[in-house]
């Protein structure tokens, strides 16, 4: 079980899914990669609430899928039920992704830095790693191609949120500032949703900035749990919005009745 959110009648995984869902809209055309339970729940929840026209390609393959539950792999064909098309990777997917017809993608990493760059390759030196991770997969591709990138992480601590990545597998805002623009890359990371807070990115420096704190979490705790200096907004820091009863019901009963999302915790 993940921790209860103080006074909200839900757990932190549910709060994260709802925060993710609310960042989606009717123009969202999204797809997902491996081990992406929070985003998959978020897309499905958004589509069943405020964004009925949201497009989601399950596993980046099954367009408009409507699975009865979420399986143990977010690349599994068990996620594809109800799809109106099975898109092929070589013929369809990369065309949709490269031309920003797909406009939304989410990734997490073993390490993330202040600019939303992500490492899923190695902990330690590349040639002789302390931990060899799976690899970046499509991160390096989609980080460069997709205008709206959402990051999430269920283990907000200084080992995950680091000043310096051991390897940059996927680009967020790169070196910050106008780095993406100079490389000719569209958009960039919008939010980073963690088990403690939601970050957005400062519009000029492109560093992570606390957009809202989850109930009961202090800014001091977030700073302590983050390996780089956390920016704060002017004025009082908002609290992450409370999920509605309806959102929680749909998430628990319809979107993810087996709580597959807890595999990320």
């Amino acid at each position: 079980m993940t921790p209860e959110v103080e006074g909200y009648g839900c757990t932190v995984d549910e709060l994260m899914v709802v925060a993710f869902s609310r960042a989606m809209d009717n123009d969202t055309r999204a797809f997902n990669g491996a081990v992406s339970f929070i985003p998959v729940c978020g897309y499905l929840l958004a589509r069943r609430t405020h964004a009925p026209n949201l497009v989601w390609a399950a596993s980046s393959i099954a367009i408009d899928a409507n699975p009865p539950a979420i399986p143990e792999s977010t690349l599994s064909d068990a996620l594809w039920d109800g799809a109106s098309m099975l898109a092929t990777s070589p013929y369809d997917f990369w065309s949709y992704a490269s031309g920003a017809r797909y406009n939304t993608f989410a990734f997490r990493g073993a390490q993330m830095d202040a600019f939303g760059n992500v490492n899923n390759t190695v902990i330690g030196p590349y040639e002789k790693p302390k931990v060899r991770l799976p690899g970046g997969g499509g991160m390096a591709d989609l980080g460069s191609m997709i205008p709206k990138i959402y990051l999430w992480n269920t283990t907000h601590n200084p080992r995950t949120f680091v000043e310096q990545l051991d390897f940059r597998s996927g680009i967020g805002w790169g070196d910050g500032g106008d780095h993406r623009e100079r490389l000719g890359l569209p958009g960039g990371p919008q939010l980073c949703i963690t088990n403690l807070c939601v970050f957005d990115f400062h519009p000029e420096s492109r560093r992570m900035r606390v957009a809202s704190l989850h109930p009961g979490v202090t800014i001091g705790e977030v700073q302590e749990s983050t390996g780089f200096e956390v920016l704060v907004p002017d004025g009082e820091i908002p609290t992450t919005e409370r999920p509605t009863e309806e959102e929680l019901r749909i998430l628990r009963e319809e979107v993810d009745p087996t709580s597959a999302r807890l595999r990320e915790f």
């Binding site: 064909d77 099975l86 390096a140 680009i171 890359l185």
Partner: protein
Amino acid sequence: MDKRVGIEQAVESIPDGATVALGGLSMNSAPMAYVREIVRQEKRDLTVVAIVAGMSVDWLIAGGCVKKVVSGLISFEGLGLAPTFRMGVQTGTVAVEEYSEDLLICRLRAQAWNLPFVPTKAGLGTDLIPLHEQAGTIRAEVDPATGEHYVACTRLPVDVALVHAHSADELGNVRVDPKLIWMDNEIVNAAERTFASVERYVDHADVVAEPHRTTYPQFMVSGVSLAEFGAYPSSCFPEYSHHTEFFQAYSAAASAPEEFAAFFASRVVGPETWVDFIQSCGGDEMVASLRRPSV
């Protein structure tokens, strides 16, 4: 020409030191019958190209067959890290040449299309660029005409592609039903030779009756091998799902190195034939439990 060939004979034709590309994606459609036979025949020093894979690469590393992995991602997904891959790289017995998915696809296309490079915007601004700077396999460049940044992906030569498919005729025309979803065609098109394991053989007359269903034409295919449930323990959409229990048992065994050697020798390498292997993994009952309702 009859292209039907046994799993054993197909694998016998792969020399030590070859570059072998594996089809499938993650938990899906990996050519496991061929992979197991590579382990059984104790092939050595292979360079394995696998865009996104898991158990296939892990078996080959466990079998001591691999010198280098050229890949975008190797894991068991929600079921954890690929344990032997991880340990092999951490202890330095296996090298990884990491790319992203699209960088690999573009390198395979440069090979298939006989071009010096194929450009993409994938990988810009990441550490994959400096990682390969010295080898020159991918290069960040700026188009002199437009000023646009791109990554030039050079040819990736492949000796043998191994894929799993649904059916083939005796001439080596191969079908993926209902259509190819994975990136297998990219490795087939790049490879000098391709072997496809298939769930069943069909008559050439059936292929001629429905030629729109052919995925790889016979001239692109060196051999086809019958391997029912040949992607096990990965899935073969839409016919059967991956086998969660096998992945779990494998990962559990891998947490204790000595136990794992025995597990791998008896469970994976031990059974004489592919049919024996499937029987030893639970046989008809297991097969029935993984079969999906017909689509």
